[in-house]
């Protein structure tokens, strides 16, 4: 593994890793055992008796006590001081993308199929391969690669559990950093947004530092959001997270009257986002006299006294 790798060399390196196939089967540290099952059901509050009581397990059709199927991965976890094997694809891909600058990781999907329940005393082995990769893609967190690992657990030659695990390895974007830090604090008298059922997803987004754009069933983006009459009102609004960059499409400089919590004059800009929709917000970081159509901007966020978070625009020159 080289010390560093250029982003353009990532596809070839991942292709190679994927072609290397599955890692050699690795045994779990302990056989499936009752104490670990007890810890799990206690921590999760799971009172299903088939995991702890032989009679109940038999009554439910098992040959005796069984382990919770969702524990499959637990039996082969590395532990506090564990190290990955040299052929472990997740470790190798992580190292490779760390070296290319995609240093952060977030899990996105985990799909487990349980072929049968495990029983105390059984010895499990695990093997994993990089089955798919896509990138680089722009996401709300930053540019990154989606990697899919396929993992299987066996007892002897028998397949007991399969798992598909997808992660995003990304280079954190500036807005994500700001999102995780404290937002700027607005003056106490600043007026907050009116939040409706149709715009609730948007304001939930600003609270985590995301600009969310409504996505219609045909894939088109819409802002301001429109009522989602095509779906049940209990369904969540579909959206994409904007990169947070765009240019001034139009603007006004507000001189009067006074507005609570704002200093005069201030600029209200209609920004055309890179995603193609237009969004209103205060424009800062530029002399009002110098604002013109086409000025590049980036979204930033400000927290109001009531806890809601307002986006605003920072001029990028």
């Amino acid at each position: 593994m080289p010390e560093s790798i250029a982003p353009e060399d990532v596809p070839e390196a991942l292709t190679k890793l994927s072609a290397a196939g599955a890692s050699a089967p690795r045994a779990g540290r302990d056989p499936v055992n009752q104490p670990m099952i007890n810890n799990w059901v206690e921590a999760l509050g799971d009172t299903n008796p088939i995991y702890v009581d032989d009679e109940s397990a038999r009554a439910a059709g098992h040959p005796g006590i069984v382990a919770p199927p969702a524990m499959a991965q637990v039996w082969t976890m590395n532990g506090l001081h564990g190290t990955r094997t040299a052929d472990d694809p997740l470790g190798l891909a992580t190292q490779l993308l760390d070296d290319a600058g995609y240093t952060s990781v977030v899990g996105t999907n985990c799909e487990q199929t349980y072929h049968r329940y495990l029983r105390p005393g059984e010895e499990v082995t695990v093997s994993s391969r990089l089955s798919e990769f896509k990138g680089p893609k722009r996401t709300g967190l930053g540019d990154g690669w989606f990697l899919t690992f396929t993992t299987s657990w066996h007892v002897g030659d028998e397949l007991v559990t399969d798992m598909l695990f997808r992660i995003l390895k990304f280079a954190p974007a500036a807005p994500a950093d700001e999102a995780s830090a404290e937002f700027l604090a607005a003056p106490a008298e600043r007026v907050g947004p009116v939040i409706s059922r149709d715009t609730e997803f948007f304001w939930a987004g600003t609270e985590v530092g995301e600009l969310r754009i409504q996505r219609l069933p045909d894939g088109t983006l819409r802002h301001p959001p429109i009522p989602a009459l095509w779906q049940d009102k209990a369904e969540p609004t579909d959206y994409v997270v904007a990169a947070g960059t765009g240019t001034v499409f139009s603007f006004v400089v507000h001189h009067a009257p006074k507005v609570p919590g704002r200093e005069l004059p201030f600029v209200v800009a209609l920004v055309e986002l890179d995603e193609g929709v237009r969004m209103l917000g205060e424009l800062r970081g530029i002399d009002p006299a110098e604002v013109e159509v086409g000025v590049p901007v980036r979204a930033d966020f400000e927290k109001l006294a009531d806890g809601t978070v307002l986006p605003f625009w920072q001029a990028q020159r």
Binding site: A43, N48, M77, V208
Partner: protein, 140 residues
């Protein structure tokens, strides 16, 4: 185990009883350790903050375990869990409350498919599909 569902009551659209989990630090840490996941972001607040999180947060294995618990709490000990497909959304930070809800979306012979959603104060934390087999649903 509080409930064993009457198989006759399982139909598309059936809503499962909600499961509300208050994820205090004890929950976040004890589930991380019970799942043998020692990543610092699940038990060490200072390290979690240094990595850009606002607090320690619940790990993925626990989410899968909670989805399993939701469906078997409802379907009873005879139900066999066949698969859990989970999509992860916003984090579940210590101090937050997760509300898990489920709806039956398909019944095919003894096999029941359940759409599961888990929301916390930041939004949708879990979107999952669980497939179980309820032996009593098999044709007699």
């Amino acid at each position: 185990m509080t409930t064993t569902i009457d198989p006759a009551a399982i139909a598309v659209g059936t809503a499962l009883p909600e499961l509300v989990i208050h994820a205090d630090p004890t929950f976040v840490i004890s589930t991380a350790l019970a799942t043998r996941d020692f990543q610092d972001v699940h038990h060490d607040r200072d390290k979690a903050v240094a990595r850009g999180s606002s607090d320690i947060f619940v790990n993925i294995l626990t989410d899968t375990g909670l989805v399993q618990r939701l469906v078997t709490d409802w379907a009873g000990p005879r139900a066999l869990v066949k698969s859990i497909a989970l999509r992860l959304g916003v984090p579940l930070y210590a101090g937050d409350t997760l509300t898990l809800s489920g709806t039956v979306t398909e019944v095919s012979g003894a096999q029941v498919t359940i759409d599961v959603r888990g929301r916390d104060s930041l939004g949708e934390h879990i979107t999952a599909t669980a497939v179980i087999v309820v032996p009593e649903l098999a044709v007699p």
